[in-house]
Symmetry: C2
Amino acid sequence: MLNKVVIFGAGLIGGSFALALKQAGAVGEVVGVGRSRTSLERARQLGIIDAVADSIEQAVAGADLILVAAPVAQTEAILAAIAPHLRSGTVVTDAGSTKTDVVAAARRALGGKIAQFVPGHPIAGREQNGPDAAIPDLYIGKKVVLAPLPENASADVDRVAAAWRLCGAIIHRLSAEEHDKVFASVSHLPHLLAFALVDDIARKPHADLLFQYAASGFRDFTRIAGSSPEMWRDISLANQAALLTELDIYTQRLSEMRELLAAGDAAGLEAIYANAQRARHDWIKTIEAAEKQSREGGD
Amino acid sequence: MLNKVVIFGAGLIGGSFALALKQAGAVGEVVGVGRSRTSLERARQLGIIDAVADSIEQAVAGADLILVAAPVAQTEAILAAIAPHLRSGTVVTDAGSTKTDVVAAARRALGGKIAQFVPGHPIAGREQNGPDAAIPDLYIGKKVVLAPLPENASADVDRVAAAWRLCGAIIHRLSAEEHDKVFASVSHLPHLLAFALVDDIARKPHADLLFQYAASGFRDFTRIAGSSPEMWRDISLANQAALLTELDIYTQRLSEMRELLAAGDAAGLEAIYANAQRARHDWIKTIEAAEKQSREGGD
């Protein structure tokens, strides 16, 4: 049981966390902090938070757990504002999509109190944002990656893990560096590629004609290019090194495929397409089995 | 009213065409031709075709309309087999995903009878294939691109267009070259990019770890990498020139984005992401409006 939980950012991610804890009967009071008073008032109307903080000092006082669920670029400023008021007994975690930059920011902002910060990343999202998008079951069956620091006490890591488990999530652990490499591959690069394709087509003089013939395959391929440009600008830059590495490897693969195509190498092209199809098919089978197990109450 | 329609390939595309014409009461008899006797018998059981042809000669005799709905690589052999038996009064069309290569193949195969061939491409598909996947409403509200030849009589083009309209489709016209440029951009390149990404990840030593964290965005982005490797090998090679052009332009865009990312140019990256997001948003609004109009009976 958590007596007091503070969320910085009462939108989709923070708001759904609060609603899930409340539904589990696992929290006494949820206090919201944010830049938009309107948004916080809306969160209070929706029952996501019980109170809007008057000050950071008041918000942080007596908190068991603080979740920073604001855009990653704001993490350092938020942690710096929390730092002077942070007492032992309070654990801070975050929901940022990148981790090495967040850890660096946390070390700068929290200094000697860094042991109280447990980096995290819930792998869940929806198309919508803001308090109205928050739902209590957003995290059911979803992964939450924790990237504990060497300084963290295991009890503090457990407190964060237990809160996410109460939301229905499955806890995974990676180092911050592993995390960023993994998500550069399976999330950040695909976003960049999808943005690049739509931008490429939109700049062509006959863009209207092209879009007219784009069909369901294009729609799915480019869905992630409908994501927030600001958020993905921040993620791209926050994970710059790993994203550059993945982009270079991918560009090299494209260049090899270009050679096969130019040479009319049917067998070479088919081998790549077939390897991809097989790998995706196996992956889909695995996640469908996991989803089935999750629905049946497994973990 | 068409007395006799012949479909080469009674799978998803050809079978759905036959079912739609039957549902519209627009055809007397549908005869099926194909390489797999089992598949044709299944199509007959399902009511897609009324008879399995004993020979090409018998199938083609007295046909009003012949649809070639087999893999594009087989088009030339099928047209060459049809050619000696083709009488005036019969119109031949196809459903291939590329058009300049099909036109070249048709000219070689049909020679002096080329005027009877009206190239076409229905823009519709499903994940499934084969006769069991065929449904009568596959083409409702979908585009069918016709790429008429200078030799075609307008009455023959109209016969093909009328048949597709009876299936619920909306007819568009492009030249074969325009068609292939458009689909290189909005379909063939995205397929190649999706295959490349999944193949890239599957080859990494830690592929299992990566796939474990791939989520819904990755799933949508790579859905088209679940497509048939043989089919996409053939399409890639059939549209080689246009696909190479689009791939080169895209690779150039990626290289420019790499420079922005390496330079930490936040504004430059955001401008590209925002342009893409806006263009996709406008496109989705347009297709949703068109879908609404189509449901309400417009054309």
